[in-house]
Symmetry: C2
């Protein structure tokens, strides 16, 4: 039995009404053919070893290596701080937020079964960084520095701040014992420093990019240290990976998602793809998906080099709360969205709603239901309200929120992303558009070899309100 | 001196290049005229008393009433739980996340100056609700139930769960003392229950809708209970409100924002409006803005009744982390976005980056800067990289993140929203599109007077993968 399922009737014209959504006959016609082609492009790149994420679920040696490091460190430290940004933190956060829950760090040692507390140092926001450092015990904290290249400005700056923090509080020779680097197996400053100073490391496989690294040591180490069932995670991923290697569109859940979302965008202009879990613990998964889908498909040029400026905009949402924020726009705004509901089938404790105040009609109908049932009624009602006005949605579902199901979800979305890349005709593995900003940042900070760019001031020409403020810049980088 | 400033050169063709952005001459031409008209429509509705949020900053009696309730309750309780969803929580969360910071609840009583801990019960997620209730001491917890109508299904269900929780743990006559209702001054189930049982209440002024309620008792009570300077908050809001009553476009910061964002959407198809603070504590403000902008402007019909299906999609982002997630799409994807940077000018502790490992070029350039300087360099570099390829942005800036500045920001965005409503030709105060889903939810839950809707199953016709799962629905609402 697959750990994930996909219900997609509400993406089809047979359900939405003539001229809206995709004609289901095409799933065995032109779209099946198009998908077969996309599938073979992806298979060719897997064959060439370019899509390393596909191989991770079967890499038992890698998993065992991570688990050994985790088991040894797990005994020594009270707190793990993951220092990383973007692909170096979003996957680990998606996994641990889903499986540990929001109160892990407030739990007692006993409730955590003596697994460490877990913090993420992502943004180089000075308030957040100094608040966090003020709260951890340097003698009992491990800093996992994660950067494949070892050149990420934010993470390197935080590394320097953390090293200074440790040096001030520990003996010189103790400092290195509080670091664990996750980086390229051969090159980069983190690799060099680790070798020079004897800092333990984990390797990001070369063919695994940041946003596809959740099942590599990047995501597995924080999971393993906090007691997540990494074997279950990879088992679920392997099951879904195997389903997604199928060239037959209707038998490939990632193929179905990629094909129907791509068609909705390019054929109907539904270019905003909303991922809306109805489960608080999956909010971080939606943020992980946002990077995966947006950075992989948002490309100025196709693989053929032709200008394209393509790519859907992924919008994370949360049910039911965003019914009270975004649903008005989804229902009545431009018909430019597809909603992907994410549903968990069952809960250990659905929480009964007691029958109180039966005399009040605004309360009495609720008694006897559960909060879980209320959430699911809201989700179904939202899907149906959208369907009735011809607006498309789909449901990705897992039976229970456990490691296996989560591994399945992570693999489903990664496979859907590379299929979508092939359908859009872009390379889902690169991100050339972020280089310009990096170079300008280096220039602004005076890094050797980078010009100080002549920046157009943003308030040039007096286009600022109020005008007086323009003359006193409060801060120089 | 205005507590907020707006730098908008990067929205203009003079900066972005011919054919991109708005010709600055129009700010004193057709756009000035169009804004004058929008302004007079808004003024007319303010005059008629329909836009209650404008009057809140000057309502000192309201503020004092809230403060008195807060001062009395603040002494008795260790924890405040705000039970509300959408407009009943997003504003309070934006204020308290910005001014209390992320570790408030972990701080000691002394560090919190004996102000209560603060939790939000928003989603009726059974895991979150039961986790939270397991963590609070019922004898020392106040539940602020917030629903203007008193009919919000999620909030009413949570009220029943909370009441049951309290009844099981306290004496019958004590229960009512742990509730504070914020609701309509006259009607609704909360108002009735409060009168029947002697539960203290605060009133949401009738002409103040949910998403415009942050400066009413809805947002002020949680702020006041946790020691936020509510007078400062309203003072900043009043200052900006007064600036935003000016009919001259170039002298009205909310007018500038509304006019240029509207023009970017309808004239250039830049329909995704990104609000991207470079400050962790302002992440929740971006979520508040998302509801405000999306729910106010996303409308199927204009005020004239004609079909329109209009409204930009607001996308919250966070700098610098989302440079590692969304920037690729912003740079290379479709030219359908405007980025609104949100910047805080100064910090108490910018956090020095130490000069260590000077032999490593990937590290040495960072030493001597601060984390705050790094963040600002990243923001400027991002704005400049976008500008160089003709992609628009603007900067909303406050000098310091304090109550006054936050009040200013809240008022700026609310005024921009009602001006934008006039420019789009829609009513920014209603939300007719959410009714269909509510009615269907009532039907699914068997509320009297609502039909059980005949739902199209989402997996109708076998459009589900894997097929087998379709026959066993795991949960009935």
């Amino acid at each position: 039995m697959s750990p994930v399922s996909v219900a997609y009737a509400n993406l089809l014209s047979s359900t939405l009404g003539e001229g809206k959504g995709t004609d289901p006959a095409r799933l065995e016609g032109d779209l099946a053919t198009r998908f077969r082609d996309a599938h073979s492009q992806v298979e060719a790149r897997i064959e060439k070893g370019e899509m390393g994420f596909v191989r991770l679920p079967g890499d038992e040696a890698m998993r065992r290596g991570v688990q050994e490091v985790a088991d040894s460190f797990g005994q020594w430290f009270e707190t793990l701080v993951v220092v990383g940004i973007g692909g170096s933190s979003l996957g680990a956060r998606a996994v641990t937020d889903a499986l540990l829950g929001p109160h892990w760090n407030e739990d007692s040692d006993e409730d955590r079964e003596h697994y460490p507390r877990l913090h993420f140092m992502e943004n180089p926001d000075p308030g957040s960084v100094s608040d966090l450092l003020a709260r951890v015990d340097p003698r009992r904290t491990l800093f996992n520095i994660v950067s494949k290249s070892g050149s990420t400005a934010e993470t390197m700056a935080q590394l320097l701040v953390v090293e200074h923090f440790l040096r001030e509080r520990l003996e010189e020779e103790q400092v290195r014992g509080h670091f664990l680097f996750t980086t390229d197996p051969e090159t980069g400053v983190l690799r060099r420093m680790a070798e020079l100073r004897g800092i333990p490391t984990l390797a990001v496989p070369p063919a695994v990019g940041g946003r596809f690294s959740v099942l590599s040591p990047v995501g597995l180490l924080p999971a393993a240290v906090t007691g997540v069932d990494t074997a279950g995670l990879l088992r679920g991923a392997a099951e879904v990976e195997s389903l997604c290697r199928n060239p037959v569109l209707k038998e490939n859940p990632a193929g179905i998602l990629a094909t129907l979302l791509h068609a909705a965008d390019v054929e109907e202009g539904r270019r905003i793809h909303v991922l809306m879990p109805y489960h608080d613990r999956l909010r971080s998964l939606a943020l992980w998906f946002q990077q995966l889908w947006g950075e992989s498909l948002g490309k100025a040029r196709g693989v053929d080099g032709a200008p394209t400026e393509t790519g859907p905009t992924p919008l994370p949402a949360l049910g039911a709360v965003d019914q009270h924020s975004l649903l008005q726009l989804f229902m009545e705004g431009p018909p430019d969205k597809v909603i992907l509901f994410l549903r968990v089938g069952g809960r250990d404790n659905p929480v009964a709603i007691p029958s109180l105040h039966g005399e009040e009609p605004a309360l009495s109908y609720l008694g006897g239901h559960t909060l879980d049932g209320l959430l699911e009624a809201e989700r179904r009602a939202t899907a149906e309200a959208l369907r009735r006005i011809g607006r498309p949605s789909a449901v990705v579902e897992v039976e229970r929120l456990d490691a296996r199901a989560l591994g399945g979800l992570l693999m489903l979305f990664q496979m859907a992303t590379v299929f979508a890349g092939a359908l859009y005709g872009v390379d889902p593995l690169d991100q050339p558009g972020v280089e310009a900003g990096k170079t300008l940042t280096y220039g602004l900070l005076g890094r050797d070899g980078y010009d100080v760019p002549s920046l157009e001031p943003e308030d040039a020409g007096g286009y600022r309100f109020p005008l007086a403020a323009a003359s006193e810049p409060s801060r120089n980088p």
